[in-house]
C-alpha cells in the first residue's frame, strides 16, 4: 500500500485507563502522522471503527496502544488486514497490564507509556517484510524406528490417520532435512536404503524376554538399579509367571519397587499374592557366593539379622537401558552435545516431541517406560507427526534468514542452533530450514558477521526499540531494563498486571523470544544510556524450550559486564535471573518489590476458585 507515516490508536479499555494515564498526552505523542482514541478495541464495533479510520489515514504502519489480551492481538491482525496495512508493520503495546495497572503514579506511568509507544513506532519502521513462504510437501510417510510395542502402536495409528509408516529393521545411519522433508539413510543386511519421510518416531526395541528358567527351579531376581517402571514391569511379569505357572520358588531382591505406571501396583500385588517373596536390600550387605552350580544369597535384613537362601538361577534387572539408544539420539540430532543423559532432560517436559520439529522419541528411546506407556506415547506421537507429515502442501514461513552477502561460512550458526534448523546450501552459504526453525534467535546472536536475522525482530529493529525506550520523558528515577523471555518472564509480567501488583515505573520491559537472542551489546547499551540495572529474565536451564537460553545468557552477561567495565560503566549492574511463567512472586522478588496480596481488585483469587464444581 502506498502510504506514509505511522498511525497511532489508543484504546482506553472502556475509559477505565483514563484515571491512571494521561491519555491525551499519549495520543499527542510526537512522530505519528495521525492518532485516534477508542474505548473498545477488542469488541467487533471498536475494531471496525479502527479499521475504517486506518484506511482513511492511508498510513503504512500502525501502533496500537491497548492491552495484551489475545482478543486485542486478534483485533490488531483483523484491523491491519481490513485496512491493507502489512502485518509486520503493526505493533501492539500493552499499556494496561504492562503499565497502567502496575504503576501507581500517573505521571510516571504516562512517561513510560510514551516511551513504550515511541519504541513500538521505532520498531515498526525498522521492520522487515517476512520471507516468502516456502512450500513443504510431505508425502505422508513417517519413519518408525524400533520393534517394540510403542512402534507398532504408532505405525497402526499412523495408518488409521492416513499416513504411511515405514518400519525399518536396520540401523539409522544418517538423518537430515526438516519436518515434512527428511532424508533418512538406513543400513540393513541387504545394504543401504534411503527414505524420504515427513517425520520420525523412534522407539526402543521389544522388552526383555523371559530369562531361561526351568520349571521347579529356585530363582532370585536382583534389582539393584533405580526403580524404573520398565524394569519393574518385566521383572514382575517374569516372576509372576515363574511362580504361578512353572512351580518355581521366586525371590525378588530390590531397593524401591518402581510402581509408577498404570497397572504396576496391581501386578506387584498379584505377584505378592502368588507366592513370590520380596526382600528389600535396605542399604544392607548383600553377599552372593557361587557354590557348586548354585548361588548362595546372604542378606542382612534390618530387624531380622542375617538371612540366607540358595537359588539355582540369578537374574539381574536391566540397568541403564537407555544407553543403547544414545547412538540413535545422536543420529537424530537430539542428544546432548557434551555427555549427559540421552535424551536430554528438557525432553521430559514434552510428552513425545523433542527440540527438533518432526522428531519424536517414545518408549524406551525416551525413558524407562512400561509397555502401556510406550503404546500410549506411540499413539500420541502418531497424532503429533500428522501435523508435519500428513500428505499435502504446508506453507512455512522462515522465522530466520541468512544475508548471503555477509555470510562468511564460519558454520557458527549451524553449531549453536538448538533445533537443527541451519544447514549448508549451494554457493558456500548457510540456509535456515523454515520447518525446523523456532525463532529463538540464538543463531542471530552468535553470528559474528550479523548475517543471520530473525524476521520478526532483526537486530536493527531491536536496537531501535531499545534506544527509543531509553530516550523519553523522565520516569522519576534511573531506568531498570528487563529483557523478558516470551515463555517465562512475559507471562509472569502479565500476571503481575492482572493482579494489580505494583512495581516502579522505572522498570522498562523488552520482550525477546529467548534470552539466547541477546548479545553483549544489547546488555551494555542501556547502561550507556543511563540505566541503573539490566536484568535478563528467562526460563531455567532445564525448562528452556530452546535448551541453551540461560547458559548463553550467563556467558553474554560475563562478556557484557567486562565490556561495561572497560567503558567506565558499572560491571555489576547486569544480572541473569530464572523463573517459571506461573511464578509471578519470583518476578516480584527479582524486580525488588513485595508481592503481597495487592488490591482487592483481583488479588483475592481464593474466593472464586479456579476449579469450582457445579
Amino acid at each position: 500500500m502506498n502510504g506514509y507515516g505511522t498511525a497511532l490508536a489508543v484504546c482506553t479499555c472502556g475509559g477505565t485507563l483514563c484515571g491512571r494515564l494521561d491519555v491525551e498526552r499519549i495520543v499527542a505523542a510526537p512522530g505519528f502522522a495521525s492518532a485516534l482514541v477508542i474505548h473498545d478495541l477488542c469488541l467487533p464495533a471498536g475494531s471496525a471503527r479502527v479499521a475504517s479510520w486506518l484506511r482513511e489515514t492511508a498510513a503504512d504502519s500502525l501502533v496500537v496502544a491497548a492491552c495484551g489480551v489475545p482478543a486485542a492481538v486478534q483485533a490488531v491482525v483483523e484491523v491491519s488486514r481490513a485496512a491493507g496495512v502489512a502485518e509486520h508493520r503493526t505493533s501492539l503495546v500493552d499499556l494496561r497490564e504492562g503499565c497502567a495497572w502496575v504503576h501507581t503514579q500517573a505521571d510516571q506511568a504516562t512517561a513510560k507509556a510514551l516511551r513504550m509507544v515511541a519504541s513500538a513506532a521505532a520498531g515498526v519502521r525498522e521492520s522487515t517484510p517476512p520471507v516468502p513462504d516456502v512450500e513443504v510437501r510431505p508425502s505422508g510417510r513417517v519413519l518408525v524406528v524400533g520393534t517394540g510395542p510403542g512402534s507398532l502402536a504408532a505405525a497402526a495409528r499412523l495408518k488409521d490417520l492416513g499416513c504411511e509408516a515405514v518400519l525399518i529393521s536396520g540401523t539409522l545411519e544418517r538423518f537430515e532435512g526438516q519436518a515434512g522433508e527428511f532424508k533418512a539413510r538406513i543400513r540393513t543386511d541387504q545394504g543401504v536404503e534411503c527414505h524420504a519421510v515427513g517425520a520420525v518416531i523412534a522407539a526402543g526395541d521389544a522388552p526383555a524376554r523371559m530369562p531361561a528358567v526351568q520349571a521347579g527351579q529356585r530363582v532370585a531376581f536382583l534389582l539393584e538399579g533405580d526403580p524404573w517402571p520398565s524394569v519393574t514391569e518385566s521383572t514382575l511379569s517374569a516372576a509372576l509367571h515363574l511362580a504361578r505357572d512353572c512351580g518355581c520358588r521366586v525371590l525378588v531382591l530390590f531397593r524401591d519397587m518402581g510402581v509408577a505406571g498404570r497397572g504396576l501396583e496391581e501386578l506387584y500385588r498379584e505377584a505378592r499374592g502368588s507366592g513370590v517373596t520380596f526382600v528389600r536390600m535396605e542399604e544392607g550387605s548383600l553377599r552372593i557366593v557361587e557354590a557348586g552350580g548354585e548361588w548362595v544369597v546372604t542378606l542382612e535384613v534390618p530387624g531380622l539379622g542375617s538371612v540366607t537362601e540358595t537359588v539355582d538361577v540369578l537374574v539381574s534387572g536391566a540397568t541403564d537401558a537407555l544407553q543403547g539408544t544414545r547412538g540413535l539420539a545422536e543420529v537424530l540430532g537430539v542428544a546432548p552435545r557434551k555427555g549427559g543423559w540421552a535424551p536430554r532432560e528438557r525432553a521430559l517436559l514434552e510428552p513425545v516431541a523433542t527440540e527438533r520439529n518432526g522428531v519424536f522419541l517414545i518408549g524406551s528411546a525416551r525413558g524407562p517406560y512400561t509397555t502401556d506407556q510406550a503404546v500410549r506415547q506411540g499413539e500420541a506421537a502418531a497424532m503429533a507427526a500428522l501435523s508435519v507429515a500428513a500428505p499435502g502442501v504446508i506453507a512455512v514461513s522462515a522465522r530466520a534468514s541468512v544475508d548471503v552477502e555477509r555470510c562468511a561460512f564460519c558454520l557458527t550458526c549451524l553449531r549453536v542452533c538448538p533445533h537443527q534448523a541451519v544447514t549448508t546450501a549451494l554457493g558456500q552459504t548457510m540456509r535456515v530450514l523454515p520447518a525446523a526453525c523456532q525463532g529463538c534467535g540464538v543463531c542471530a546472536a552468535a553470528c559474528p558477521a550479523g548475517a543471520i536475522q530473525i524476521t520478526e525482530s532483526p537486530n536493527r529493529r531491536l536496537l531501535a526499540e531499545m534506544d527509543a525506550l531509553m530516550n523519553g520523558p523522565p520516569l522519576g528515577g534511573r531506568p531498570t531494563v528487563v529483557f523478558a523471555c516470551a515463555n517465562s518472564a512475559v507471562p509472569a509480567l502479565q500476571a503481575l498486571g492482572r493482579l494489580r501488583l505494583s512495581y516502579p515505573a522505572q522498570v522498562l520491559v523488552v520482550p525477546v523470544p529467548c534470552l539466547g537472542r541477546l548479545e553483549a551489546v544489547h546488555c551494555v547499551r542501556p547502561l550507556a544510556a543511563g540505566a541503573r540495572r539490566v536484568l535478563l529474565c528467562g526460563c531455567y536451564d532445564r525448562s528452556c524450550e530452546h535448551l541453551v537460553g540461560p547458559a548463553t545468557a550467563r556467558r553474554v552477561v560475563e562478556r557484557a559486564s567486562a565490556l561495561a567495565g572497560t567503558l567506565g560503566l558499572d560491571p555489576g549492574a547486569i544480572h541473569v535471573a530464572s523463573l517459571a511463567p506461573v511464578d509471578w512472586h519470583k518476578l516480584g522478588q527479582i524486580l525488588g518489590v513485595s508481592c503481597d496480596d495487592g488490591d482487592r481488585n483481583g488479588g483475592e483469587a481464593s474466593k472464586v476458585t479456579a476449579h469450582a464444581t457445579a
Binding site: 524401591d256 509408577a260 524407562p368 500420541a380
Partner: protein, 392 residues
C-alpha cells in the same frame, strides 16, 4: 470435548489444527484444570513438574481458531452413538457475559462486598465472575453497581442456570481427577488438627501467595513431614493403585521448601520412593542434606504440646520411633473424578471400556503426570480423528 485441563486443551487444539470443529465444555470458570493452580517447584533449577507446560498449553488457546470454548458448563448426560451424539450441558450462571468482558476490573473496584472478581490471574477466559451468594442481590437488595459500572455491558445480573443440547460426532472425556479426601484417614488428623495439610493445599497456597505462604505455615522452629501414599497403594481403602506423581511432587515441594526457609528440615515418609516417574532419576540423586528419607508410613498424628507427634517404624533400621513436627503434609493420591455422565468405569472409578465414539483422555482413565496428560490429549485426538474418518 469435556474438560479443559492439560489433556482436554491439547486434544482440542490438535483436532482444531486438523480442521475439526471442537466444542470444549469446562465445568470451571477458566481452563487449565488442577494444574492451573499448582506452583512452580524449582529449587536451583527446574524440576520438570510440567506446570509451565500446562500453562503454555493454556496460553496457546486462542479464541476462535476452531475451538468453541464454553466455561461454566457441566455435562448432564450423553446419549446416542458415533456421528449422532446428543450431549446435555448445564450452564452455571457466571453473572458475566464472557464474550463481552474485557477484564477491565471496573466492576470489582466498585463492588461494595467484593462479590465480583477475576477467577484466575493467568488462565483464559479472563472474564470476571460474580459470586451469586456473596452478592447483595442474594439478600434481596437491589444493587446494580457492577452493571452500571461496566463500560462494555458485560454484567448479567439476571443470569440463571440453563440447559443446552449439543450435537457431536465424537465425544472426548477429559474430566481429570479428584484428590483423595484425606479426612477419611482420621488417624492422620486432616481437618481436625491444625498443622496437617495436603500436597494440594500446599501447591495452591504456594502458587497463590508465594514463599510468604511457607513462612506463614512454618513460623517458628521448622520441621515438616511429608506422608506419602495417602489414598494410594491402599487396597483396603479401595485405592489399590499407585498415583505416580505424589512421590516426585513431595520431593519437589520439600526441595523448594528447604530452599525458601533456611533452617527447615523435611522428612519424607514413604513405602517405595517413586523417584523415577519415568526418566527423572537423575533429578533426585543429590538431595540437599535437610531432606531426610524414612521408609515407613506413620500410624498416627497426635497433637502434643511440642507440635505434631508422628509414630512410625523406620523400616531401614527396624526401629519404632516418635518424632515431633510443626507441619505435616499428606501426599494424597488421585481418585477418579466421579461418574462421567453415565459412562462405564472400572471398579476404582477410572474410565475404561467406553462405548464406540467415546474416548477418554488424561487422568480420568488413571493417574498421570502433567506431561503424560498432554500426551494423552494427543492420543485422544488421534483416536477421535480415527472415529471421524470411519464415519465419513
Amino acid at each position: 470435548m469435556v474438560g479443559a485441563g492439560p489433556a482436554g486443551l491439547t486434544a482440542a487444539q490438535a483436532l482444531a489444527a486438523r480442521g475439526i470443529p471442537v466444542l470444549l465444555a469446562e465445568q470451571g470458570p477458566v481452563v487449565g484444570g488442577w494444574a492451573a493452580c499448582y506452583a512452580c517447584k524449582a529449587a536451583t533449577d527446574c524440576n520438570l513438574c510440567g506446570v509451565c507446560l500446562s500453562a503454555r498449553v493454556s496460553r496457546t488457546m486462542q479464541p476462535g481458531a476452531g475451538v468453541t470454548l464454553k466455561v461454566d458448563a457441566h455435562v448432564l448426560g450423553i446419549e446416542g452413538g458415533p456421528g449422532s451424539f446428543a450431549v446435555r450441558l448445564a450452564h452455571r450462571p457466571r453473572g458475566v457475559d464472557v464474550s463481552r468482558c474485557t477484564g477491565c476490573g471496573r466492576c470489582a473496584e466498585l463492588c461494595p462486598v467484593a462479590a465480583i472478581a477475576q477467577p484466575h490471574p493467568q488462565a483464559l477466559p479472563m472474564a470476571y465472575l460474580l459470586d451469586q451468594e456473596a452478592c447483595l442481590r442474594a439478600r434481596g437488595e437491589e444493587c446494580v453497581i457492577c452493571r452500571e459500572a461496566c463500560p462494555f455491558g458485560a454484567v448479567l445480573l439476571d443470569d440463571t442456570p440453563s440447559e443446552e443440547l449439543v450435537q457431536a460426532d465424537v465425544v472426548v472425556l477429559a474430566t481429570g481427577f479428584e484428590p483423595y479426601p484425606a479426612a477419611r484417614k482420621g488417624q492422620l488428623g486432616y481437618g481436625r488438627l491444625p498443622g496437617v495439610i495436603t500436597t494440594m493445599d500446599l501447591e495452591r497456597g504456594l502458587w497463590q501467595h508465594g514463599p510468604e505462604y511457607l513462612s506463614r505455615l512454618l513460623p517458628g522452629s521448622r520441621r515438616v513431614a511429608f506422608v506419602h501414599c495417602v489414598g494410594s497403594r491402599d487396597l483396603a481403602a479401595g485405592r489399590g493403585w499407585c498415583s505416580q506423581v505424589c512421590c516426585p511432587t513431595a520431593l519437589r515441594l520439600a526441595g523448594r521448601m528447604v530452599r525458601e526457609l533456611p533452617g527447615l528440615e523435611a522428612t519424607l515418609f514413604f513405602i517405595d520412593l517413586q523417584r523415577c516417574a519415568p526418566g527423572i532419576a537423575r533429578l533426585f540423586d543429590d538431595l540437599p542434606p535437610e531432606i531426610h528419607l524414612v521408609r515407613g508410613i506413620p500410624g498416627d498424628v497426635l497433637s502434643e504440646p511440642g507440635g505434631l507427634l508422628l509414630t512410625f517404624e523406620d523400616v531401614a533400621t527396624a526401629t519404632r520411633r516418635q518424632e515431633l513436627f510443626d507441619l505435616v503434609v499428606l501426599a494424597v493420591g488421585m481418585d477418579s473424578p466421579g461418574a462421567a455422565a453415565g459412562m462405564p468405569a472400572a471398579a476404582e472409578g477410572f474410565l475404561c471400556d467406553l462405548p464406540a465414539g467415546v474416548v477418554a483422555a488424561g487422568a480420568c482413565g488413571g493417574p498421570v503426570s502433567i506431561p503424560e496428560a498432554v500426551g494423552e490429549g494427543l492420543r485422544a485426538a488421534g483416536a477421535a480423528l480415527r472415529v471421524l474418518e470411519s464415519l465419513s
